[in-house]
């Protein structure tokens, strides 16, 4: 209990800003932030801060603004914009997750236990999903092997990657 609280956004640095937001329907939401994340979320003045803003408005919109580099970002598939997201807190289509990925990543950290899905996947994609995971691990190993000038290992890894990336698309639908 006496352990130092860790920032609930970056989950690394110790928290220095402790916010408790009580909404109109008496929902209490507590959030612990470190200096940097508090600044990044625009929480300089706690008096003007609301968790709802952080979740759906301010924080998100700022994140999306930054991602767009000032210009308004729009989903190429459905035409949904960051302003639409600020209004509704909902996205336009599945593709929007790719369009707004950069701005969403911070938001997802504050909302969920993790940022990577764990659990059920559609049967048809399960094999692909496992292959993608293995590919990533192999590529890391390969980079390390090259760095260490261990060319023998690198050659083996390269072949494995070749096999796997050849197999993955064939198995997915």
């Amino acid at each position: 209990m006496s352990a130092k609280k860790i920032c609930s956004v970056c989950k690394e640095k110790p928290a220095t800003v402790f916010l408790t937001n009580i909404s109109a329907d008496n929902k209490v939401q507590a959030m612990d932030l470190c200096d940097d994340c508090a600044k990044a979320k625009g929480v300089n003045d706690p008096a003007t801060f609301g968790t709802a803003d952080l979740l759906f408005g301010l924080g998100a919109a700022q994140g999306l603004d930054a991602a767009a580099g000032g210009a308004e970002l729009k989903c190429s598939r459905c035409g949904f914009s960051q302003a639409d997201f600020k209004k509704s807190g909902r996205l336009g289509c599945p593709e929007c997750y790719r369009t707004f990925a950069e701005g969403l990543s911070g938001l997802l950290k504050t909302m969920h236990k993790g940022v990577r899905h764990v659990g059920k996947a559609p049967e048809a994609l399960r094999q692909t999903r496992e292959n993608v995971d293995r590919l990533k691990t192999l590529q890391k190993k390969l980079a390390k092997a090259v760095e260490e000038e261990n060319y023998e290992a690198a050659a083996t890894l390269r072949d494995e990657i070749k096999n796997l990336s050849g197999a993955a698309p064939a198995k997915s639908r």
């Binding site: 329907d25 929902k27 209490v28 939401q29 507590a30 979740l55 459905c78 949904f80 639409d84 509704s88 807190g89 909902r90 996205l91 336009g92 289509c93 599945p94 997750y97 969403l104 938001l107 997802l108 909302m111 969920h112 236990k113 993790g114 940022v115 990577r116 899905h117 764990v118 659990g119 059920k120 996947a121 559609p122 049967e123 048809a124 994609l125 692909t128 999903r129 993608v132």
Partner: protein
């Protein structure tokens, strides 16, 4: 075309089902949010696209073996009263009841599965079970989902999991919830600390009809909030643990109240019975709060011979839409209060006033 009212089971059938721990856990539910890969989410899609999604999903859902005896209807073919009845049965959300063209519902007769199409997501499928059965509900909806994924292309991302309209449902798209009757914790004034500690665990506590509703009749909905970064099984297991603890706290609160403040308990229950058995005009809100106390009285064996099912049936039958449906004329709220009181008096006429000492209370 089947009529929804001839399809739905009777309120008596709906409320006389049994499950483990149903003294305290009224029902369990697991819902999964899914979307089609190639369509805009319902809140952003134009009408023709929504209609197309409904026309794609509805036959696929109706053809599932679990839905062999099911009823499917577009929301624009249901009257406001029909929709409200589905809300009072907890089969559809209030948000879904407000939908029209391009949205719809597929439900089975015994109310164990209900699929909302084009609510906030293309698919909101739910498995419902009486009592404390969230694991069983998860297994049931998992099978239904696996059957459906063979026919529909769900939006799924390797990193983010199932993609949903709102980022709060991303990943597993799961919401596990139970409806808990907690009059003991409310009377003992322990409910607020319990709600706060449940919130601290990342779980939400809501009222009778979900988000933004009050806890009428001491009924609380407990559910997970986070959906990304943890598997369905881990979420279900955490909920099971937390619910088991809440059940224990409620049992303890009831026991302590009976030991330390029996007069307070008898007073509340006696007055509730007095009003319900004798009133000639009563609102649905007052009815629910008093029925909750009578339900507690039945649990504490203060109404020998009375059955909890009767109370639960009245709880459902006295809600505005169910009450209106049982009548031939359209009534105003004031007129409904009279009819409601008549119905409750009539159904309670064979229930004697509460005894003041539960049988075997000393031994317990």
């Amino acid at each position: 075309m089947k009529d929804i009212h001839s399809f739905l089971c009777s309120p008596a059938e709906s409320t006389h089902r049994h499950g483990p721990n149903d003294r305290i856990v009224m029902s369990s539910r697991v819902r999964l949010a899914r979307n089609l890969r190639d369509a805009a989410f319902p809140g952003w899609a134009k009408k023709p696209e929504r209609v197309k999604v409904w026309e794609t999903i509805q036959p696929a859902v109706s053809a599932l073996p679990e839905m062999a005896d099911s009823f499917a209807e577009a929301m624009d073919n249901l009257t406001a009263l029909d929709k409200q009845i589905l809300v009072e049965r907890h089969l559809i959300s209030r948000e879904h009841a407000a939908k029209n063209v391009g949205s719809g519902v597929v439900l089975n007769h015994d109310e164990t599965f209900c699929v909302m199409i084009n609510e906030e997501d293309h698919l909101r499928m739910q498995a419902l079970r009486p009592g404390f059965q969230i694991r069983e509900a998860w297994q049931a909806i998992d099978r239904l989902d696996s059957g459906l994924e063979k026919k529909l292309n769900f939006a799924f991302d390797n990193e983010l999991g199932y993609l949903t309209a709102c980022p709060t449902n991303l990943g597993t798209g799961i919401r596990v919830s139970s409806m808990l009757h907690l009059p003991g914790l409310v009377l003992a004034e322990q409910i607020n600390p319990i709600v706060q500690s449940v919130n601290k665990l990342g779980l939400a506590v809501r009222g009778l009809y979900g988000e933004g509703t009050e806890a009428l009749g001491n009924v609380f909905q407990v559910s997970n909030q986070m959906t990304l970064g943890e598997s369905e099984t881990v979420i279900v297991e955490r909920l099971e643990k937390v619910m088991a603890q809440i059940i224990e706290h409620e049992e303890n609160a009831r026991q302590t109240l009976l030991e330390k403040k029996p007069k307070v308990v008898f007073n509340h229950i006696g007055r509730a019975y007095g009003v319900l058995a004798n009133a000639h005009s009563i609102s649905s809100k007052e009815t629910m709060n008093l029925l909750s106390l009578m339900r507690l009285g039945v649990d504490l064996e203060l109404f020998p011979g009375a059955h909890r099912g009767l109370i639960d049936e009245l709880f459902l039958m006295t809600q505005p839409a169910h009450l209106q449906k049982s009548l031939s004329d359209k009534l105003s709220a004031e007129e409904r209060d009279l009819v409601r009181a008549d119905m409750v008096r009539d159904r309670l006429k064979n229930v004697s006033r509460p005894v003041t000492k539960p049988p075997g209370s000393a031994a317990n």
